[in-house]
């Protein structure tokens, strides 16, 4: 299929998804909302972590900062400006973090990013308690589930578009070289640090925006709600399941996993943890490189 057709198809699907809340009951809008949120998170995460193979657990640090920005500013500024602020704060924070940490590698980066998320959470808590004296903020914005869903849908589409654009550009090529072998890439004249930093900032900004957009859904914001480490782990698992190296991988991971979690919590409310755990172990054993890679191997196997 040619690119224009693919785009037309994608636009049609997007339009259908955007129209869905008009026909679906609120609950399914809620499911679509949660799902779209994770598609955006996983795709944004994979934007940086896929090609560089830096497994980041800082997702919730940015996500939470986005949500908190909305909680703090929602009464002071008009909503679009609030989102802009959230994005800017996320970008600056990513720049600072990126500059200081991107030389760490492997498990050290993983743990660092986890520590970062906790540090941000502790600092925000301490600040709220001792400086502003307000733990727990209220977000009363006139949004229903579908309004939030539409914003997330737009953000997810933009994220995919950015991911697609990067994949086609020279940066994408450079990235693949870095992923294969960083030293070789550096010798080939690629400014490794700068590219990694750029990607990290883009990815973190998008993640911050997801948090900012989702904040009005909870009415009440406090650190334990928005800095919930589960968000980081879920994002990671979804992207890895689909395949973090591919454009559609995170999406293909996020949708079935999200529906599966939903089904598990409806059908096995008392044994969710056990089922989830067993499933995880199963995924590692059966599909170590993600669903898309698995499908590809199956296809190749069929042809051979």
């Amino acid at each position: 299929m040619r690119t224009p057709y693919a785009f037309a198809l994608a636009a049609a699907v997007l339009a259908a998804l955007a129209a869905a809340p008009l026909f679906l009951p609120d609950y399914w809008t809620g499911v679509l909302l949660g799902m779209t949120g994770y598609v955006a998170l996983a795709t944004a995460w994979a934007l940086f972590s896929g090609p560089t193979r830096y497994v980041s657990l800082a997702t919730v640090a940015f996500f939470g900062v986005g949500a908190y920005t909305v909680a703090v500013l929602n009464e002071a500024l008009p909503y679009p400006l609030v989102l802009l602020c959230a994005g800017a704060i996320g970008a600056v924070m990513a720049l600072v973090v990126g500059l200081s940490t991107l030389r760490l590698a492997g498990v050290y980066f993983v743990i660092f990013t986890f520590g970062l998320a906790e540090l941000v959470r502790q600092t925000v808590s301490w600040w709220e308690v001792n400086v502003t004296y307000t733990m727990g903020r209220y977000v009363f914005l006139p949004f229903e589930g579908r309004h939030i869903y539409w914003q997330l849908l737009a953000l997810a589409a933009v994220t995919l578009l950015i991911s697609w654009g990067i994949g086609r550009s020279r940066i994408g090529l450079a990235l693949r070289a870095i992923g294969d072998d960083e030293t070789v890439a550096a010798h080939a004249g690629i400014d490794v640090t700068r590219i990694k930093l750029l990607l990290f900032v883009i990815s973190a900004t998008l993640i911050t925006l997801v948090g900012a957009i989702q904040a009005p859904r909870w009415t009440y914001i406090e650190p334990s709600i928005v800095f919930n480490p589960t968000v980081s782990f879920m994002t990671l698992i979804m992207a890895l399941l689909g395949g973090a190296m591919r454009l559609w991988g995170p999406l293909v991971g996020a949708i079935p996993l999200f529906l599966l979690f939903e089904w598990l919590s409806v059908s096995f409310p008392d044994h969710f943890s056990i089922m989830l755990g067993l499933l995880f172990i199963l995924i590692v054993f059966v599909m170590p490189n993600g669903v898309l890679a698995r499908i590809e191997t199956l296809r190749k196997g069929g042809r051979a």
Binding site: R53, V55, S100, T101, R103, L104, A105, G106, V107, Y108, V110, I111, F112, F114, G115, L116, E118, L119, Q122, T123, S125, W126, V129, N130, P229, F233, I237, L240, D270, H271, F272, S273, I274, M275, L276, G277, L278, L279, F280, I281, L282, I283, V284, F285, P288
Partner: protein, 287 residues
Amino acid sequence: MLEHVVNGLVLGGTYALVAMGLTIQYGIARIMNLSFGDTIIAACFATYLLFSALQIGPILALLILVPAGYGLSLLVYRVIMKPLVDRAPDEGALEVDSILVTFGLLFVIQGVLLTIFGGGYTSYSFMNTAVDVLGTAVAANRLLALGLSLVIGAALVIVLFRTRWGMVLRDVALAPDSAPLFGIDTDRAARRAFAIGGALAATGGVVLSMFQTFTATGGVVFTMKALIVVILGGKGSVPGAIVAGLLLGLVETFVAAYVDPGLTLAAVYTVFLALLLVRPNGIFGKA
């Protein structure tokens, strides 16, 4: 001042005790075990059960639960970890696989504990008596944690550096690929290291349950504390884990005393992140 040093060391002893098992599992068996904290919690509940239902005291429970921890970990390694180790093309792949699979295991353990014990807070009183250490009243059960971590740490160092078997383990940790060339059974070494880690987790759980309130879902907190200590100390380094554990205890205590108790955890993460940037391989790690 002195009382803060004493309190800090006693607190740090707990961290060191919890972290030693993880550093061995990660450093020698090369399994990044995210379900480590949940193993500790399982041991906490087992101790509680033995104590409240069968009147078996926690000290006696050590004799039952430590071998049980060893045995169960051995089983987990054989059934779940071994296939992953065999198929992993390189260390990075094994790292990712082990993170994912133990993440699943974490939920399984948690789910089982939830089904059996429910989600409530559990705590009991044992050895909660004051012992005078240099003028500071310290809880006997916490002192036991510090004592055990020092004794076990010393025993492990002696085994690792003074026995043939320890040398084998260290070889596997340093050069897993070339160790088989010297006739070393890496699989057996890794299996044992993983099981020793499990036994240490059980030890930690038994001791912790005496003074800490625990819930079925509280394991992550221990895993993360232990992980920080392991990375700070350098992976696979038992002395490193002890030094880093004590250091964290001191940092928390001094920040609580002289800065603000609200910043203790923020301070821990700051020290951790800063040290990671300066010495990415930990205090005792090799560059």
